[in-house]
Every structure is written in C-alpha cells, then in structure tokens.
Amino acid sequence: MQKFTQHHNNFAQAWITMLKHPLEHFINILVLALIIGICAAGLSLNNSLNNWQQKNVSYPQMMLYLDHNANQADIENIEKILNNVAKNTIRDYKYISKQQALTELQQDKQMKSIASDVIDPNNNPLPDVLIVNTATAESTILAKLNTQLSQLPMVDNIQLDMNYANKIQQLLSFTSKISTMAQALFILVLSLVIYNMVRLQMMLKSDAIKVSRLIGASDSFIMMPLFHYAIWQVTLAYLLACGILKLMTANLNNLFANFGALFGKGFEFTTLSIAEFGLMWLVIIVFTIFTVFLAVRWVFRNSYTQ
C-alpha cells in the first residue's frame, strides 16, 4: 500500500517536472527519439532488404536459349530437371515461346523501330526461352547451376551476368553489415545518452539526494524517481520516434512505388505490427531500467560516499 503511494507520488513528480519545463524536456525527448529512430530505421531497413531479397528482383535471372530445333518433349524434359533443383537455388521459371518473344519484341518501345525493320514475322528467327528466377546470390552456387544447365540437351546458350550477381550480393551483405554495425553503435549511443540524462538529473537534484541520504534514505528511495523520470522520457521518445518513422516510411514507400519502374520493382519499407511495437517498447524499457541502475550506482560511487 505504502509502496503504491510512493510509486504514485513519484509518477506524479516525474510528470510535474516535465510539464514545468516542457521545452527542455522536449529537447531531451527529441534527442532520444532521434537516436531510437535511427536504431529502428536501421532495423527496418535490414528487414526490408531481407524481404526484398526474397522477391525475384534481387537475384539474377538466367536465360536459357533453346536450340531452334527443340520440340515440346525437349522442353518438358528440361522443365523436369529444373523442377528437381533445390528450391533455395531456383525459385521458379517461366517458358516463353518464340511466338510470344516476337510479340513482346514488337511491342517493346525501344526495340520496335529496329525490330520492325529487320524481322520478318512470317519467319520468326527468335529462339524459345526459359527464364529461370534463381533464389540465391551466391556466385559459386550460380556458377555450378550454370554449368549443370548448359550441359542439358537442346540448351543452346545460357545468359547469366555473374558480375551482376556478385555485385548484388556484395551490395546486400555490405548494406546489412553497415546497418547492423550502425545499429550496435546507436544502441551504445542510446545507453550513453540515457546514462547522461540520469546523471544530469542526479546532479540537478544533488542537494535533495545528499540531504535525503543524510536523513536516512535508502538506495531505492533515491532511485525510484529517477526510474520514473527515465521511463517516461524514453517512452515518449519511443512514441515520437515511431510516429516519425511511420510518416517517413509511408512517404518513402509512396516514392518507391512511383519510381519502382526505374530502380527495380518491389522494394518497400516494412512497418511494425502492434505486437512488435509493444515488444520493442518492452525491450527499450528493460534496457532503460538497466542503464538507470548502472548510472545511479556509478554516480553514487563517484560522489555520495555516505
């Protein structure tokens, strides 16, 4: 009962402190939100990249140009073999007949003027094609697949830009490495900033803390208002950060949708579900409590020896 009253008083005190100096606390919250926001943006970017990787755009396509003499049976044979390749190597494939290819070519804006001049529709010179969407960017696996498929009967020619595959892979691993590192860095910065916030709060209240200890206050009596203060600051910062990210994500996704055609289709920033949102808040709060605890111990050790 008394514990509850104490919590209630400390809760009220934290809000009174914040409302008395709204601008100053807003600045504090803004800085926290900035850092939480950068952490969360990194997380979201990583997630989104993973999602994007799962779509076809990110892995190289293989074009299997078949021999002019290939017939329906040959094609079915090749399809059977493709079906047996592990799902994490080939995601799917698509057969495009020479007729389809010609029609597409004639509809293609860029090719039209050339195609119309040079191709006689009655004597289609194009080959049948199998477009294979791979499911990996690992260049060694792709190279192996390449050799394997090129030995199939009736496969005339395989196009696979290994360079491209290599580069995409590098890019993705580089981005995710950078973003993971940045996240770790920012979690460090976040704990430093929370530590500093608590330390400053203790310095601003140092008279009250000293006098309280002189008349017998326990550690928990002194820590409790700091916990309340820090938890509310961090929670408000978290909400602000989520709000900003939500807004930014929506805008950027809009943008990506507009320019999708230019820069590769399907990229989209993922947003948090309510469960994830709650979970992340919990993680941040536990982390805050831990940081406050360490900060208080540290400051005690360095100044209030009694």
Binding site: Q2, K3, Q6, A208, K210, L214, I215, G216, S218, D219
Partner: protein, 223 residues
C-alpha cells in the same frame, strides 16, 4: 548497565585529510534519555562528534557504539538506515530550496515510508506548530528569514519523533525569546525519553539548565 548507555565513545579519534585532528582520543558515554550540551570554540570538533554519532563520518581510530551497534564495523547501508531513527539539526540547515516548507518537513516521513497521507499531514503540521512556523507552511524556503529557516530544520528533525536528537547549533540564528522556546521544546522531548545532544558555542544559554555540559577544546575535553 550496558543497556543504559545509548552512545559510547571509546578512544575515538577523527583525523581528516591533511592530518587535521578534529577529535583526539575521546571517550565518553551518554545514557538513554539524557540531555547533554556540547560546548566549545569554533573548530573545537562539536559538529564532528555529532556526525560521528549519526554515522555521517567514520572514526579514524576507536569504537563508537550507538544502541549497542558498533558503527566502525557496520556497512555503509546500515549506517544510513540507522539515521532513520535519529533526528539531526544541521548547522548549515540543509534545507531544500526546490520544495516548499511542508515538503521539506515531510521528506523525513517519506523516507520512513510507513505513514499515510493523513498521518503525514498531521505530523508535519504539529512539528511546524511546535517551532512556530505553522503560518509559513506553504512558503518557499527562500521566503523565510534566517531564524525561520533554522526552525524549519528543527521541525524536520523532530517530525518523526526520533529516539536520538542531535542538534548542531540549533539556536545560532535565533533571538533570546526564540532560543528559550526551542530549548523548552527540547526539554519537553527530553522528558518523553528522547536522548538529546545539543552543541553550542555560546555558553551563556547553557549555564541555566543544570544539565551535563561536555566542554570541548581542539578535539579534547577541557580541564
């Protein structure tokens, strides 16, 4: 016999940094319920003795026993805990300027965290009345005169009815009428069984009371 001595100093010395000997091999006992005056010149060691009893400072040599507990071998946390049962009137008041008079006094009760809001209010009002500050209950400390601040500090020290009351120059900023009032208050406490130690540089106010006076000079007893 042991039970009767609530405070025991056994060959206690306190040497601060730079080899400043504030207390020099001092031994004395104080009985439960006694009222003792601690007199001496500026720098004699009066405040140091009171801080040692409250566990705010630790002895460099010797043993200090408070209610049978040897402070020299207890943990810091326990020494802090002991202070919950002591009232301390600080020489420099140590009033908190970030809260009003009422909240300054209630701090002592908050730390004990065993009173309801109603009890807290009653006790604080009583304490302020006994030092003549009831009309300043909602004032900020910076709105009080020097003597009023001193009385506020006394109210904070007595609000939880401690077993031991240590008062460091509690009347330095008070005129004679107020001094008499505060001393009356202490005597009333004394008669209800509280052990009280009062330090003062001004022997004239002490002589009338016929109580034990410890005369300090440079960290030793005079005479």
């Amino acid at each position: 016999m042991h039970d009767n001595k609530i405070i025991k100093f056994q060959h206690v010395s306190k040497i601060y940094t730079d080899n400043i000997i504030a207390i020099d091999n001092l031994s004395f006992d104080i009985e439960k319920g006694e009222l003792v005056f601690l007199a001496g010149h500026s720098g004699a060691g009066k405040s140091t003795i009171l801080k040692l009893i409250a566990g705010i400072e630790t002895a460099t040599k010797g043993d200090i026993l408070v209610s049978g507990t040897n402070l020299s071998i207890t943990s810091q946390n326990y020494r802090t805990f002991i202070r919950q049962h002591i009232g301390f009137v600080f020489q420099d008041h140590k009033i908190l300027f970030d809260r009003n008079v009422f909240d300054n006094v209630r701090l002592t009760l908050d730390i004990l965290s065993k009173y309801s809001e109603k009890e807290i209010h009653e006790r604080v009002v009583n304490a302020l009345e006994s030092v003549g500050l009831e009309h300043k209950i909602n004032s900020r400390p910076e709105q009080l005169s020097g003597g009023e601040q001193q009385r506020l500090c006394i109210a904070r020290a007595i609000v939880h009815k401690p077993k031991i009351l240590l008062a460091d120059e509690p009347t330095a900023n008070l005129d004679r009428a107020n001094v008499l009032k505060i001393l009356e208050l202490f005597k009333k406490f004394h008669s209800s069984g509280v052990t009280i130690i009062i330090s003062a540089h001004d022997e004239s106010i002490l002589s009338d009371y016929g109580k034990r006076i410890l005369q300090l000079s440079n960290g030793r007893f005079r005479g």
